[in-house]
């Protein structure tokens, strides 16, 4: 069975089209990633699948239920961890979970057992009766994950699950996510703008930019589609002639101008660089810097969108915002 199917999903906010026709097919048991920069439409897409936002047009089914016709059945089948914090700070961890369990109709007989199980899973049992106000950012995130799982959802949505967390907590949360997917067989859809997160966790990734999906594959295949290695070089003077000379070379698969540098996809980086340097000498241009690396999802993103995602710049601002909200 398909856990999620969406057809031409569109969301308009007044004049702004945030999502421009998203088609997704996600299998039961998959760990699927929506990867893209901030403002690409990831959260909007998720919100429509979670029945929080009504699609402007198009349709979507989650666990076989139509998001517009049967929202209540969709809500019963899914768990969500929102991008922004969504706990009641005045309640304790256990009270937050209890509230959720009641609203999601976890039978009274199972309620406290289920809550204890989840607290165990996220290792918050000893903090269960502490006010959430006193939790750290990572603890809040873990409690939200526990809450999302409390009613045994078939599909779990994680919207930027590690945004604003320190590297150690991030690792920790990755481990939970993998465990849930491997052992509990929960279908997981996560959004992220961290390339390494998508690469590390996801079975399949959809790269989303300006409200459309530009590529959809396994991370390995996506990276493979780039070719062998990525060589990035800056040259002076950079008058656009050099890239034209480089492009027809038989070991160069593709050449792209990205900001101040030339980005080449080549078969074998270690043999390509000397040849490129030789060519530069012949053409009379200088090469102040050159780097060689294996392709990452970042390179895939650049290939499809022609620009860098710059997770650093964006995430610093986002991280500050997230921290401000969280603490």
């Amino acid at each position: 069975m398909k856990a999620i199917i969406s057809k031409d999903l569109v969301k308009k906010f007044e004049d702004f089209k945030a999502v421009k026709g998203i088609n997704l097919e996600i299998d039961e048991g998959e760990l699927f990633g929506l990867l893209g920069p901030n403002g690409a439409g990831k959260t909007t897409t998720i919100s429509m699948l979670c029945t929080i936002l009504k699609p402007t047009s198009g349709s979507a089914k989650v666990w076989g239920y139509d998001v517009e016709q049967e929202p209540e059945n969709v809500r019963k089948s899914i768990g969500i961890v929102f991008q922004d914090p969504s706990l009641d700070d005045n309640l304790t961890g256990r009270e937050n979970l209890d509230f959720h369990a009641r609203l999601f109709q976890v039978p009274k007989a199972d309620r406290s057992e289920r809550i204890n199980e989840m607290l165990d899973l996220v290792e918050l049992k000893d903090k269960a009766n502490t006010s959430v106000k006193k939790y750290s950012g990572g603890m809040k995130r873990r409690l939200e994950i526990a809450r999302g799982l409390l009613h045994e959802p078939k599909v779990l949505f994680l919207d930027e699950p590690t945004l604003g967390l320190d590297p150690q907590t991030r690792r920790h949360i990755w481990d939970y996510i993998e465990k849930l997917n491997d052992e509990n067989k929960i279908t997981i859809i996560l959004t992220t703008h961290y390339m390494d997160e998508a690469d590390h966790l996801c079975d399949r990734v959809a790269i989303i930019d300006h409200g459309t999906i530009v590529a959809q594959e396994t991370p390995t295949e996506l990276k493979h589609s780039i070719g062998g290695d990525v060589v990035t070089m800056t040259i002076t003077p950079d008058n656009g002639e050099f890239i034209e000379k480089v492009e027809p070379l038989d070991f160069v698969r593709s050449a792209q101008q990205v900001d101040d540098s030339i980005r080449l996809s080549v078969d074998k980086g270690e043999t390509a660089i000397p040849l490129l340097m030789e060519l530069a000498r012949q053409e009379g241009v200088q090469v102040p810097s050159v780097t060689l690396k294996e392709p990452t999802l970042e390179d895939v993103f650049i290939k499809y969108t022609g620009r860098e995602m710059r997770p650093g710049e964006v995430s610093d601002l986002e991280r500050m915002k997230a921290m401000a909200k969280r603490f």
Binding site: E72, F82, S86, D88, N90, L91, E95, K325
Partner: protein, 255 residues
């Protein structure tokens, strides 16, 4: 039907939050007590109002009880804005429950806290010499007081929810309290009798639902009131129904 258990769950959260914030309970009792003691004795010892039918502190006490319920309930309804701001509203909205049960649970929660606060004020007022002089049987007094506080409580939580559903941030809060809540309170007849007012003010008092709540409470405490008690109850019932409907309709529109 899990409608009522969902209502209960939302109510339970409101009550847990209420019990949890003890400092807020004390500070929200301090303000009405200040009004009652300082105005009650300050104004009462210098001015004579025609047609009070009782001393000023006795006259004022039911109004202050209604003020307590007004403030508690309208801000409890408006706490939806806080839930929006702190993200908890999303958790509620994505649950497989009807929005109406959420509105009802929230309203019952705010009203319960309002009634508790109001009862505490009424109890404390007897310590400073307020006397029940209506001569109504005790059972009737309690029933009428509860019905009054319930109806105005529910009505004003509904109003708070309706406002909160339309405003985006907490900035609107101060404005609402200055331009809506305080006028409702001052024009309710809590401080002064409303039978000798200028015509324009009489109109404002007559369209103020709280005026009927104050009148009804005053009937319970002093036995003297302005409007027939059935008018009080009818207006409050209408206010309660209309506000619940508007609150529920606007809350359902939140996306």
């Amino acid at each position: 039907m899990h409608f009522f258990s969902d209502t209960y769950t939302v109510w339970l959260r409101e009550m847990t939050r209420y019990v949890r914030t003890r400092s807020r309970i004390v500070s929200s009792l301090a303000q009405p007590l200040l009004f009652l003691v300082i105005f009650g004795f300050g104004v009462g010892s210098s001015f004579q109002f025609p047609g009070l039918g009782t001393n000023y502190v006795n006259f004022l006490a039911p109004g202050i009880v209604c003020m307590t319920v007004l403030f508690t309930s309208i801000f409890s309804g408006m706490s939806v804005v806080f839930d929006k701001e702190f993200g908890f509203l999303k958790e509620i909205l994505v649950a497989p429950v009807s929005r109406t049960s959420i509105v009802l649970g929230k309203s019952l929660g705010g009203t319960t806290t309002g009634i508790i606060q109001g009862t505490i004020i009424l109890g404390l007022s007897t310590l400073i010499g307020v006397k029940f002089t209506s001569g109504l049987p005790i059972g009737v007094s309690i029933l009428l007081a509860l019905v009054t506080l319930f109806l105005i409580g529910m009505g004003f939580v509904g109003l708070g929810i309706a406002i909160a559903s339309r405003i985006e941030s907490m900035e609107g809060f101060q404005m609402i309290s200055n331009f809506l809540v305080l006028p409702i309170f001052f024009l309710s007849g809590a401080f002064f009798p409303v039978n000798n007012l200028p015509a324009w003010m009489t109109v404002l008092v007559r369209i103020n639902p709280l005026a009927y709540g104050v009148d009804s409470m005053r009937y319970v405490v002093t036995g003297v009131n302005q409007f027939p008690i059935m008018t009080d109850l009818g207006v409050m019932l209408g206010f309660f129904i209309v506000m619940m409907l508007i609150g529920a309709i606007l809350f359902r529109r939140i996306q």
